[in-house]
Amino acid sequence: MSKNDILLDIKNLKIEGFSDEKWHPIVKGVDLTLRRGQIMGLIGESGAGKSTLGLAAMGYTQPGCRITSGEIMFDGVDLAKLSEGKKREYWGNRITYVAQSAAASFNPAHRLIDQTTASTIRFGIKPETEAKADAVTLYDALNLPNPNMIGNRYPHQVSGGQLQRVMTAMAMSPRPDLIVFDEPTTALDVTTQVEVLTAMRKVVEEFNTAAIYITHDLAVVAQMADFIKVLRHGNEVEEAPTRDMLSAPKEDYTKSLWSVRALEKDPIKEQAPILEIKNIDASYSKVKVLNDVNISVPRGSTVAVVGESGSGKSTTARVITGLLPPMTGSIEFDGSTLPNKLEDRTKEQKRRIQMIYQMADTAMNPRQTVREIIGRPLEFYLGLSGAAREKRVVELLKMIELDERFIDRLPSELSGGQKQRICIARALAAEPDFIICDEVTSALDQIVQEGILKLLMRLQKELNLTYLFITHDISTVKAISDQVVVMNLGQVVEQGKKDDVFSPPHPEYTELLLSSVPEMDPDWLTNLNKVRQAS
């Protein structure tokens, strides 16, 4: 077998999924050719069929899905025609899989080294002692700390970034011909993502393994893939070598995939602060999570709070809303001091500060209609009822660009973007001055994200709203904020105007955070690692 043999050749593949009592097409006739040692990036929004296609490359379909036609030729054998038992001889042997959430994809009951080596031992590729020694070598190659010992730990005992690398070691252990990476870094912080990407690229190159890399992030795939295929609604939009795709995407749809990065906010007139939190210390039971936090938010502006998980961003929001009373420090709102505890605040004080959450799904009662969800704050804060309430709900729906047909729907009958819009309407119903947006777009696709961000900006202009926008996504920050607060380990690293924060010189942590955000440049990761190694 020479190096450039075709390893995987998918022809006119069609896959259907069963829902609402019907079979719906998910993948509608896609071709895919992969040679040995090549890495193919599959990108698209959720529902594009990229994960389904990636799994189909293994001959696997999710429960409730079926392959209706087409062939999946893997090294001369059509996986689509094999029985489950025959396909099993390929899985974990010649084709392996790296899942999105390593935390959920490792069995909590077994030690990491046993899970890493399970299929290698099962297929008799290596005897147990050899497989385990090899796993330690792989852990080392993937820059895991303490490679000799980490395998003895259970999944819950190591961090998400480390687990993702252990899973890569698990995928590499049988020395497969093909690895399917299914959004392997989506759940990670940017600084962790850089480490994981570097490690994954290193081993894939070292063993000349072919790979399919599924993601919705073009900048990430640019670092990994030799060429990229864009999918939409189960069809191929275009396929091109990575460099060509980035410098000159042909299709409008491909261009729209990085539209959020192109969003710009007009500069606003500086106003006096509406909210100032001063010297805030806060803790969960005995663990101190906020340390002398000072943030000032000018009226009518958007202040973005960025940082990794565990930096104290969301805790800051809980302190402002009164859900977590701080140990020391004060919260000044519109010229007066707010009581620290929620129950000590007046209804009027509560009304003026509202919150929108990351998971619109869980932030709404699934048994209530849109009318009840939006109507409740109208009744509670403003005392509206009957026809007046109904009229106001319709007005609010118009403000969030949904028509009044939605008034009788349940959350389950709404799309992700529509759900988040309803949550925005619910916050607006209280007629607040100040809204805390906690990662409101991180669960959404790029294009839906753009719609929500545009809506928030328009509402801000019309209603002179003030936003505290909590996010870990730097491109969102660039798009919508006036001021930026960088947080790390419960402390404010810096606060300033967007342009000042984003232009050098940076404090050390801001530098690390900003430099870790993937850029649309295939050489970005290589260059970054060179720079970091040099310093």
């Binding site: 799994l55 899985w91 899989y97 899942a99 959920a104 009951a109 399970a118 299929s119 730990r153 005992q157």
Partner: protein, 326 residues
């Protein structure tokens, strides 16, 4: 100290606290029963004075809270009190200590419960695991349907059907399970076979269904898909990947059913004339023999609390998050 030891000690204290609350509930519910032992023994014809004198002798004239503390103080020192029965208004006292009365009955009950558990628990686990393994096959459907059928019939009905089949039509086992202290072990097992079989049929369905559900519930987890994509067979997926994570809910259901075997089998005892605690308690309630009723209720409460504690401990030691903290 290992966090597990700490948790177990904490649960143990919680159990003791629960027991205290239960003792209050037991005592006050018995207080609420109409009539008392004095009236029950002396009958309608007795004069107010005789009843009052008899009550005084039994200590029933003291205020309720004093009687409660007397009782609790006694129990803590291992004294369950003296039975009322055997006493008569005439002053003749043939009463026996409660402990002496309950001990052989309790031993019988535990023997029957243990015998049933030895048959039912492995059977339920085997059926539950195989039903999950061959989910939606005819095997699964037949197992589910037949266990559900046996649980749907009242216990006495199952008991009589078994008597009809295994005593009348094919005489294999005796229909009367009258055993006493002197019965040798082999004979004991032989005579207890029918009650044990009846109880097995009654409790297997619940445990089997929960085992199956607990395993199937886990099959939607990403790590199960991951196991499949690593080439694991269905058997491996169930036994190695799902079952180790399913022990906590399974243990809870088993504990619940074992507790039922101790506290809830009076109907079966009556049908087979099996001398267990259940019958003793019912008899004592009828005759208002309060010390015995209280002692039985307390033993039942201890059984529940102990078995649930055991299930909790199994839940903890099979959960690596708790067994191997960060």
């Amino acid at each position: 100290m290992h966090p597990i030891v700490a948790t177990v000690i904490q649960r143990l204290f919680l159990g003791i606290a629960t027991l205290f609350v239960v003792s209050i509930i037991i005592f006050s519910s018995i207080e609420m029963l109409p009539g008392d032992f004095g009236q029950a023994v002396l009958g309608q014809a007795a004069t107010e004075e005789t009843v009052a004198a008899f009550r005084k002798e039994l200590g029933l004239d003291k205020p309720a809270y004093i009687r409660y503390f007397d009782w609790v103080a006694g129990v803590i020192q291992g004294d369950l009190g003296t039975s009322f029965s055997g006493r008569a208004a005439s002053g003749v006292d043939r009463s026996r200590p409660v402990a002496e009365l309950i001990a052989p009955r309790l031993w019988n009950t535990l023997f029957l419960a243990g015998m049933t558990a030895i048959i039912a628990v492995p059977l339920a686990l085997f059926l539950g695991i195989t039903a999950a393994l061959y989910r939606n096959t005819y095997y699964d459907k037949i197992v589910s349907a037949s266990t559900l059928t046996t649980i749907s019939f009242p216990e006495f009905f199952v008991a009589y059907i078994l008597i009809l089949l295994l005593t009348a039509l094919w005489p294999v086992f005796p229909s009367l399970a009258n055993i006493d202290v002197s019965t040798p072990l082999g004979e004991r097992i032989y005579r207890s076979a029918l009650p044990a079989l009846t109880l097995t049929l009654v409790i297997v369905a619940h445990m089997m269904r929960m085992t199956r559900a607990a395993i199937i519930n886990l099959l939607a987890n990403p790590y199960i898909q991951m196991a499949r994509l690593s080439g694991a067979t269905q058997r491996e997926v169930i036994l190695k990947h799902a079952l180790p994570n399913a022990w906590a809910p399974i243990a809870t259901v088993i504990a619940f059913n074992l507790a039922y075997l101790v506290v809830g089998v009076v109907v079966v005892e009556v049908v087979f004339v099996y001398p267990g605690v259940g019958q003793l308690m019912v008899d004592s309630v009828t005759s208002r023999d309060i010390p015995v009723v209280q002692a039985c209720a307390l033993i039942f409460a201890i059984t529940y609390i102990f078995l649930n504690l055991l299930a909790d401990i199994i839940g903890i030691i099979t959960n690596p998050r708790l067994l191997h903290p960060k």
